[in-house]
Symmetry: none
Subunit: 198 residues, 4 copies
DNA sequence: GATGAATGAGCTTTCATTCAT
DNA sequence: GATGAATGAAAGCTCATTCAT
């Protein structure tokens, strides 16, 4: 069996188990059972339990960043870029719910127990937004008095909070598309370089 | 006695320790040492480790909700109410950083390992926002086509993400006031019942 | 129960278990069972399995060195001092067989797996012999052309090898006294069939 | 094939690894790497880890016994025979340090964890000495009141203890030849400052 | 014969919880 | 009520051994 096979099987199993029980409550034996390998096999591919989590971060976020950047490049308008980012983000959460959950919760917890790990991939992802905002400001579409560090986080936070709702209780009330649209709307109107309402 | 000295000392110690190490990495003996009581004493006031966490949620969020509701009632304008909520939320994060961190991270993780616990207090807190939004819609200040479940989370998410930034790396670049103002601005302009830009 | 009690009980249990099975084959649970404490209790008194072994070395050899030095000081003649050392050493092996076995085997192995531990106590013990030899040379009782580093080890090695015999198969053929006498004799006058020195 | 290339390679690798880390700390994969074979290959030649150790004992001591007996037969005088034994023993330790270390430490420990293995080869080796002593007593060269079981072990122990010194810290202070001579001297004539026998 | 990926039993160690004092 | 020594279940990880290739 090819090495990559087992590596991927374990990663996918770990995503599922971490999503369900959380990193700490997850047992190596849970992951092994889910991946249909022996406990010891996991240690042929990963140094320890933390290493599995880090690998999820690195590998899966890496893939996502690539996809999103690709999708955004196809549009020129910063407003459309933001809409696409929102849509992409929420679709991902819907399609890869377990992964989304792990990234959302465990990734942010991780600095507590993995002191040495600096999560640069996550920062890279969020910075896609600030790049778009800068672009919008340059083109005079977005307000110049936007604080970039705040705006990017406001947008990401809005999406992220919706994701949480989705992850906890998949909500058939709003579709992904209308949710993405709604958030983009609120945000875009909010940041537009228009005369403030009288 | 529920509000006994020891009870509070343990709660405050636990907040500090949970904030620093996370719930799972925190040991009962850490909390005991921080609270300057014996390990066993903790079990006179709490049933187990989970119970301490739940108590933090219930008691501390309870206090916060009371404060925020009080502050909001003093204003009539929904726009001002939102601004006050934002300011209040961020001030709290700044003043009670440890508590903020526990609420932000552990509370959301909790459903993973405390299956039976339904976190109604948190929902109650976030619903303060939706109440304001409804009010704004009734008074024709906010757009009617806002999805209330989305808008409330978009606003809370934006604040929450800023809090995370604050908690991880206390940022002297933006003041609490300008951050709150900025987020309120983006959101208020975005939800205002004005003709959409051409 | 006094702290010292448990510490001693564990040390004594460990001596017995290490003597019987060797350090590596010995399980913490074996020691705990022998000491009639829970497995975890051992870790209240020792950092880890190695620490138990080191404690045996330090504490028990310390006691022995004290005793031997005391016994030797009572005699003036270096020849008698050597005889007393031999007798004392072999008596100890007989009386504290398990301890002797641990010291004999595990102590010497220890540098293999406890790289950082320097066994100064053992060297201190063997150096009691060289001190006696030096004294004998000063008084012109022992040959001046004796290499001190060799002679001390020759004497200790002879005793040690007898101890091993004793430990492996307690031998009723020779008494401790005649064995000690025999080794002292060989060392003091050799094996040649010559008229003993007057 | 018993004397196959691989069999020998594994034995030699195991001697090196056991000498360095000790039997228990040595991993099969260490030996395999040292022998430049796959882990599994070892099990084509040996039943298990213990079996490798036993094979070292049997085969390597076997060779040594042959050599020593041959060297001793060339001399007639029991005193010379003892000197040759001493010299041969120490030379061996010097030339085959790793093997010496394994035989010295692991062989003696072995009865602890390999209950069923009786180490007859080692006894055979030490009994070469007692044979010499008996011969010396028959010829009236050695004292009749020597206890043979004690004398043989005294001599062997002296050599063995020197070996340990050599193994732990190769000592350039004394040469092998002078060390062997010194021990033989002490044993043959003792340490007393008397005119050497005519 | 040779390989080395896979196995899983079994170990040391941790730490929430208890309870005699 | 308060203590903290003692408990023992539970889990991460290692590594001798196997076996499909």
């Amino acid at each position: 069996m090819r090495t990559s096979d087992k590596h991927q099987k374990i990663i996918q199993a770990a995503i599922k188990v971490f999503a369900t029980k959380g990193f700490f409550s997850a047992r190596i034996s849970d992951i092994a059972k889910e991946a249909k390998v022996a406990d010891g096999t996991i240690y042929l591919y990963f140094n320890n339990k933390y290493d599995i989590l880090i690998s999820i971060f690195e590998e899966e976020i890496g893939k996502i960043i690539l996809q999103v950047k690709l999708a955004i490049e196809e549009e020129d308008d910063p407003r459309r870029k933001l809409e696409i980012f929102a849509l992409h983000h929420l679709r991902l959460v819907d399609e890869k719910r377990d992964l989304a959950e792990v990234l959302q919760m465990e990734l942010r917890q991780s600095n507590k127990f993995m002191k040495e790990y600096r999560n640069t991939r996550f920062i890279e992802y969020v910075d896609i937004i600030s790049t778009i905002i800068h672009l919008g400001q340059e083109r005079n579409i977005f307000r110049k008095n936007l604080l970039p560090g705040v705006a990017k986080r406001a947008f990401f936070g809005a999406l992220d909070e919706m994701s949480r709702l989705w992850v906890l209780a998949p909500d058939p009330v709003y579709t992904i598309e209308e949710t993405a649209q709604q958030i983009s709307d609120i945000f875009l109107v909010g940041v537009s370089n228009l005369p403030a309402p009288a």
